[in-house]
């Protein structure tokens, strides 16, 4: 018998607004109304400014480690724009733009990176999950969140974000397999930014596209220019309609680039060429929208100057709100462990001691304790 082809497929790539701001009218017309595009642009610029300020805050000791989002703003922003406000956003930690678009106050992200759990106390009505620090774990939660929608007969879907590195983790594959085989309406949104800290994408995936991974799970997939907000919106709408109408998951590979270091604790010059970074700087998602808006007469230098001023104002007031919050109460890390604190834990909280005598000084009643001079941290 001749050997026959068992399966063939192709992966589509979507690009609508290219590096030079050439616009594909056929795909892009009506996709994002002008007024919305202006708002999206402004929002991305504010987010970029936050990135710059956060970097300086870290360098001056006012904030801990911070992962810059620079260069990737169009991905989560486009997704948050294209989705319903009550669809779940299940982020990794480089999705500030999308979370802010949804309505997450900027100071919450700052608080998180300032080492304060209150930054994760996200209002339920925003339908945003807190940042996920362990790589590639949150896609399963998105699968569960979307499963709950299906269970309840709701149309709410979940969109989860992750990088190319995360697609190496076992949990990623389990999430894809669950969603595909159990018909769960999740959008798996891979921000392929080519670098997992210092490890290049080719160590994570030998196939020409990350999108191909979805094919193996029987899941529809598409690749897009992740620095093109039109392409992102196009793909997310397509994914969302499939998810809502057919209850099926969808995989998007958005090709983008991490223009900054992995975090402020990293120095990317150690492992990647500046020429590569410079080349990607010309593909910055913000630049091409500005060019597009300008050629359409929707943007000018005066507006740009006003925006810069607004960005500065918005970000500094967010920083002020984050920094002026009262110091956290140390009871909080005890009180939030369970709905009801167990007695033994309450004893630890109330004495701030773990040693038995410290918790019950009656054991040494009458003894005179002279403690050596205290130190403060």
């Amino acid at each position: 018998m001749p050997i026959k082809s068992a399966f063939t497929t192709t992966i589509d790539h979507v690009s609508i607004l290219d590096v030079n701001a050439n616009f594909d009218e056929k795909l892009g017309a009506g996709l994002i109304p002008d007024a919305d595009l202006v708002r999206l642009y402004e929002h991305m610029c504010v987010c970029r400014h936050l990135d710059e300020v956060a970097f300086k805050l870290q360098r001056s000791g006012r904030m801990g480690t911070f992962p810059q989002n620079m260069g990737q703003e169009a991905t989560s922003m486009g997704a948050a724009y294209a989705l319903d406000k009550t669809d779940w956003l299940v982020p990794c930690y480089r999705e500030n733009a999308g979370l802010f678009w949804r309505g997450l106050p900027m100071e919450m992200i700052l608080l998180h990176w300032m080492g304060d759990e209150r930054g994760n106390a996200i209002p339920r009505e925003l339908y945003c999950m807190p940042l996920a620090i362990p790589i590639g774990t949150q896609m399963l939660h998105a699968t569960g969140l979307a499963w709950a929608s299906k269970y309840r007969g709701e149309k709410r879907l979940a969109c989860t974000f992750f990088g190319d590195g995360a697609t190496s983790e076992g949990d990623f594959h389990e999430a894809m397999n669950f969603a595909a085989n159990l018909d769960i309406p999740v959008i798996f949104f891979c921000q392929n930014n080519f670098w997992a800290i210092s490890v290049p994408g080719k160590i994570q995936c030998s196939a020409p596209t990350v999108a191909q991974r979805a094919v193996a799970y029987g899941m529809d997939t598409i690749q897009c220019d992740g620095n093109d907000i039109f392409a992102v919106v196009y793909c997310v709408r397509k994914a969302a309609s499939l998810a809502r109408e057919k209850g099926r998951p969808f995989f998007i590979e958005a090709v983008t680039y991490r223009l900054g270091d992995h975090t402020t604790a990293d120095d990317a010059r150690r492992y990647r060429d500046q020429a590569e970074v410079d080349a990607w700087k010309t593909r910055d998602p913000i630049l091409r929208i500005r060019k597009f808006l300008t050629t359409r007469g929707l943007w000018d230098d005066a507006k740009e100057a006003a925006l810069a001023e607004r960005a500065q104002r918005d970000v500094s007031s967010a920083v002020e709100r984050a920094e002026s919050i009262a110091p956290p109460n140390r009871d909080d890390f005890f009180n939030n462990m369970f709905a009801t604190i167990p007695p033994d834990l309450a004893l630890q909280r109330d004495t701030m001691q773990t040693h038995g005598i410290g918790q019950d000084p009656s054991q040494i009643e009458g003894a005179v304790i002279e403690l050596p001079a205290k130190t403060s941290h």
């Binding site: 590639g136 890390f333 630890q348």
Partner: protein, 322 residues
């Protein structure tokens, strides 16, 4: 002799073992060109090439599972898990395979690997970058667990771990990666696994600790005027109960200090062993100064969580008063 930080001492041990034994290879996330996120493997990629210093896909279960295969084939892999908080995915491979391969094959297959893991808090790191999970792996039969508290010990213990025929988890307290320097011989040397170090001698009380907490214990001891014997366990499994027993029989009082949560922390095991071996010698109940039974708080509050010299000093005085 060279005056080295803990990071440099580990780096030196890795270089020497790789030069000595070509079966030794390093694998993990960012260990190659980047030299590791803490620079522990700095320069090794350049020196030994990408066959022996391997940047892997971002997958902790993969790193450990593949290392088990490498080890069973006769190599000496040294996988790195980037932070203790990311051990989760590797747990299955460590506990379901590495730990039990020797016994389930009755010695036909062994897993000589050394897993390096930065551990503990106190460096203002993000969440899941500051935990102290050593007890989980001490509790798992079949794994040796090491946690040095000084550059000298780190080098000698790591070399022993690499040469050990069984799986070793080598926890590196990141709070003291660069906190101080110490004279470290340039020649290779080993320190036996399972032997404690008496950091300072005394006869009024015994303090047992390990890892970065040893430094806090020293601060507390230096502040008071008491004669205290500080024992750094160095290896947590197998652990040197003989050293603890000898000291407690001499002093009659014991405080155990660790950063991990109190409940079922390794201090519980030591306290129970002291009960078994030293009951009639005790002048006061064994005390534990430990992390609280909560999730390690984000860094604004991390120092409230971790045992510090104040809490240790108070426990010392109260135990002495009993």
């Amino acid at each position: 002799m060279a005056n080295l930080t803990l990071v440099q001492a580990i780096n030196l041990a890795l270089i020497q073992e790789m030069e000595r034994d070509e079966r030794v290879l390093i694998l993990g996330e960012d260990v190659g060109l980047n030299g590791g996120v803490f620079r522990v493997t700095e320069g090794l990629h350049k020196r030994f090439g990408d066959k022996r210093v391997v940047d892997t896909p971002l997958a902790e279960s993969g790193i450990i599972g593949a290392s088990i295969g490498l080890a069973m084939a006769g190599l000496r892999p040294i996988p790195e898990i980037q932070f203790e908080g990311f051990l989760g995915p590797a747990y299955d491979q460590i506990c379901s395979h590495a730990a039990r391969m020797r016994t389930r094959t009755r010695g036909a297959m062994t897993v000589p690997l050394t897993i390096r893991i930065p551990v503990g808090g106190g460096i203002h790191a993000p969440e899941l970058h500051s935990d102290s999970p050593e007890t989980i792996y001490i509790h798992q039969p079949g794994i040796k667990v090491v946690m040095p508290s000084s550059p000298y010990d780190a080098k000698g213990l790591l070399i022993s771990a690499i040469r050990d025929p069984d799986p070793v988890m080598f926890f590196e307290p990141k709070r003291i990666y660069r906190a101080f320097r110490e004279e470290v011989p340039e020649d290779e040397y080993t320190l036996p696994l399972g032997k404690a170090r008496v950091v300072c001698e005394g006869n009024e009380m015994t303090i047992v600790s390990w890892g970065a907490s040893v430094v806090q214990c020293m601060q507390a001891i230096e502040r008071g005027g008491r004669s205290i014997e500080l024992i750094d366990l160095r290896t947590l499994y197998p652990f040197d109960m003989d050293a603890v027993e000898a000291s407690v029989k001499k002093t009659g009082r014991c405080v155990i200090v660790h950063e991990a949560p109190k409940t079922c922390g390794f201090g519980a095991e030591i306290a129970a062993r002291i009960m078994e071996r030293c009951f009639l010698y005790l002048e006061s109940p064994v005390q534990r100064v430990a992390g609280f039974d909560t999730i390690m708080p984000y860094y604004k509050l991390e120092l409230d969580y971790m045992p510090d010299a104040d809490r240790i000093a108070r426990a010392i005085e109260e135990t002495a008063a009993y």
